[in-house]
């Protein structure tokens, strides 16, 4: 078991033949991901990485039965690509592209929701079910199979956290990078219940950062619904007010969205909150021992 994706998940790539799309699709294939084709307008009928290329997502879905799309199209075309995937019947769109306009994501997410499609990202590392299926740009080799689920706004903190968990002798069930943009798809609130329900996951690592209040919503949910131990870290305790810290959504506006308030809420919800990402591994070991 795992959440959302596994060894049988059929994946297509939008922006398949581009530089980024090609490079990462190849890496995913090497990891074992079932990539069944890709979409690049006007290249339909060709073969790329030994997989068929289609002009439209609808055609790709009809021919391959794909349920997940990994999106690498340039930022200005992300909104369009997401809406196309939604109408073609894709169940989950994993949006890797960085720099999509906020307005486009607003419209695209609303449209995806209308069609029952889940989205992940944009500007995220993707999702990986260890040793089964990697849909994204994370380095596959650090994710050993195990019983820790991971949700993170940050790519490199996902790697840092997973690496520590594995070095402590544990492993990852599924790790999900949700991205740090102002508007994102799947977030803690949707992913926490999935990990709670997943028999393979015994502990959940939640990595957040300053800006917005998704972590506060997560804390409320954890308090009432999560029985598995949660280890949490919030990046940006030392970030100044009113400055965007790399991610477009990582900004403390006025007194809202600070690391301190998020850490306090998670602590009150019963999570083990660490003050440095360097302590994630040890905290997971302690949490697993207490179970």
């Amino acid at each position: 078991m795992s959440i959302l994706v596994n060894k049988d998940t059929k994946v297509i790539v939008q922006g398949f033949t581009g530089k980024e799309g090609s490079f990462h699709a190849e890496q995913c294939l090497a990891y074992g991901t079932k990539i069944v084709g890709g979409v690049t307008p006007n290249k339909g009928g060709q073969t790329h990485l030994d997989k068929p290329v289609f002009n439209t997502v609808a055609e790709a879905v009809k021919t391959t039965g794909a349920t997940v799309s990994m999106i690498f199209v340039p930022p200005a075309f992300v909104g369009d690509a997401v809406m196309e995937a939604a109408e073609a019947g894709i169940e989950l769109a994993v949006i890797i592209t960085e720099g999509a306009p906020v307005k486009d994501m607003q419209m695209a997410k609303a449209h995806a929701t209308k069609h029952g499609m889940k989205t992940l990202g944009p500007n995220c590392p993707g999702i990986i079910t260890a040793e089964e299926c990697k849909i994204g740009i994370m380095p596959g080799m650090i994710f050993k199979k195990g019983n820790v689920g991971l949700i993170s706004k940050s790519g490199t903190l996902t790697y840092e956290g997973a690496n520590q968990v594995c070095k402590e002798g544990f492993g990852i069930s599924t790790a999900v990078g949700i991205g740090g943009d102002p508007i994102i798809g799947l977030s803690y609130l949707q992913l926490l219940p999935m990990f709670e329900a997943d028999p393979e996951t015994e502990c959940i690592v939640l990595i957040g950062e300053i800006g917005g209040d998704l972590e506060i919503q997560a804390a409320a949910y954890i308090k009432d619904h999560i029985t598995k131990p949660v280890v949490a870290f919030i990046a940006g305790q030392t970030a100044p007010k009113g400055k965007t810290m790399g991610h477009a959504g990582a900004i403390v506006s006025g007194s809202a969205g600070t690391a301190a308030e998020k850490m306090a809420a998670l602590e009150a919800a019963g999570a083990t909150v660490v003050v440095s990402p360097a302590e994630i591994g040890q905290a997971v070991t302690k949490a697993m021992a207490k179970k």
Binding site: H24, Q27, P75, A76, G99, A100, P101, V102, K103, D104, Q106, M107, K109, A110, P125, I137, M138, P139, M141, I142, S152, K153, S154, G155, T156, L157, Y159, E160, N163, G180, P182, I183, I207, E209, I210, G212, D213, F233, A235, G236, Q237, T238, A239, P240, G242, K243, M245, G246, H247, A248, G249, A250, G254, S255, A259, V275, S276, P277, A278, E279
Partner: protein, 390 residues
Amino acid sequence: MNIHEYQAKQIFAKYGVPTPKGIMVESVPAAVKAAEELGGPVWVVKAQIHAGGRGLGGGVKLAKSLEEVRALSEEILGMTLVTHQTDAAGKLVQKLYIEDGADIKAEYYLSVVLDRKLEMPSIVASTEGGMNIEDVAENTPEKIIKVPVDPAIGFQGFHGRELAFGLGITDKAEQKNIINFAKKLFKVYTENDAEMIEINPLIRNGNGEFLALDGKMGFDNSALGRHPDIEAMRDLSEEDADEVEAAKYGLSYVALDGEIGCMVNGAGLAMGTMDTINHMGGTPANFLDVGGSANAETVAKGFEIILRNPNVKAIFVNIFGGIVRCDRIANGIIEATKLTDVNVPVIVRLDGTNAPEASEILKKANIANLIVGDDLADGAAKAVAAAKGN
């Protein structure tokens, strides 16, 4: 990206959002000439900087004669304004906006911002115009009304009515005016990919008309590509020179006031590294995300920018290589030390793809001042010790 008040008002005018008449000037004689052109009898001389709180800082003043316009322009132009939104050093006033004085009967607050929870833009308004809106939200939250507008349906009549009734506007002509004002402002927001528009105060004059007395606009940087007219309004002199230079090299840099320079890949890990340094008793001198395409040139530029800060006593390079290979970063660091005179200890922690090869490369290079950190905790501890001279 933010713009000046006078630029925001230029955009407002294009959409028919009413504002008092005004002229931007960069010298005292031009200020007097502008005042003559506007006609008076009352003018407002306003400092143009990218920060709120200008009035309280002495950057906005009323003039009742051309002589006063001259005297106030002399006073404000070239002054360094310190407000609650600038840093302690303040901002140099290089531009003035000379504006017609307005007949103010009532002051309101009006803004359009993204409501991240609802995932749509929201019109925020209050009868407490001219006040710091954060204080209003804190002390009297009932005086703030929020009207979310789904962009898929656009600004409808009911949005306008909610706003007018929420602000307690009962006169029918005035209701019509405020609804039209908000409708046009919402169009300004969506059509220009604004991140926020803030009007504080929005005023009602003796004729029951509403005017934007102030105007503040910020834009979604990711959407600037499709708005060349707005990108042309960028005033680089209002931005931090180091941040601007860093951005040219794909680096995301924010200066802080500590002693340990940081160079990290990924925004989350970069913040996490600052937090770890802080937790171990050190102080971060900056946030720096080298991004996914770091090479010798960008690493060298990163060192150069970090070292411009005289407070920096050590640099912590913390890289978790994913797709980025650590051996390349190691070579980048060696190149960087040749291109830039690195005169403080550099603690390097490289983990992930090709990390063992990278540590071999660094050992062989035998660079003075270079200390290897085994993991995040070890690297941060060594950086804190090095900054303290140990």
